[in-house]
Amino acid sequence: MNEDASQDFLQEEAAPFRADALPLAEYIDPVIEVFKKDVDRTMLRENLKLTPNERSRKFERAMKMVFELRRSANSSR
């Protein structure tokens, strides 16, 4: 690439962001389908019965336990 061409390349604008260029959320990717077989749907169905606010409180309780376990694991090293 000569110097002029390299300048042109550097001055090229990045392609503008286009939301419609993304695959749909429902896009079926064979790799994702393999991972999907391991998803515990009973947990998801239970969560869907709750309001977002109830989910956030449940999540907070679960995460307190996760952080406690991490702390215990770190202090026992």
Partner: protein, 166 residues
């Protein structure tokens, strides 16, 4: 080094009370939609308007924001100039870890993403949260191997939610 506990509700309350314009994305947004996955930090897309940056800097000052994973003692100051000169910040604070994204792959800025959000009540706080459909697209656009499980779970969640509305 001890693992700080992320105080999710306190972080969101801090941002909300300071009237900062932000959109909840990442693991907490997934939880808001019904995901059962754990997450250790708060991810938000913030508006880069000067007045919003000023509010963000002021609100975070008391919780000592610092670059996550960086060596201690660096001359890092989370001030308006730093935020204007930067874009995405992965921070640790006294309340835990927070990622402030000026732009997100597949979603763009706050102003472009805001059309694909809905207002949800989380931790008794009303927040803008990215929609489930958009969250899946964001994870797809990120293209990280670690997100494969998350995409699978979110798509399963979307299928389950659609079944309920049929």
């Amino acid at each position: 080094m001890s693992t700080p506990e992320t105080q999710f509700s306190n972080i969101l309350a801090l941002l909300s009370e300071a009237e900062i314009e932000f959109i909840l994305v990442g693991g907490l947004a997934a939880m808001a939609h019904g995901s059962a996955a754990a997450t250790l930090d708060v991810d938000v897309v913030y508006s880069r308007k000067p007045e919003n940056i000023a509010k963000l800097v002021k609100a975070l000052k008391p919780v000592s924001p610092y670059l996550r994973g960086a060596a201690p003692g660096l001359p890092f100051e989370f001030d308006e100039k730093t935020v204007r000169m930067g874009l995405n910040f992965t921070l640790t604070t006294k309340l835990g870890d927070v990622d402030f994204l000026g732009e997100i792959a597949g979603g763009g800025t706050f102003e472009t993403l805001v059309a694909q959000t809905d207002r949800r009540m989380l931790f008794d706080i009303s927040l803008l949260c990215v929609t489930l459909e958009k969250l899946i697209q964001l994870k797809q656009a990120a293209g990280r191997p670690k997100d494969l499980n998350a995409i699978a779970e979110l798509q399963a969640l979307l299928e389950e939610r659609n079944k309920l509305s049929e």
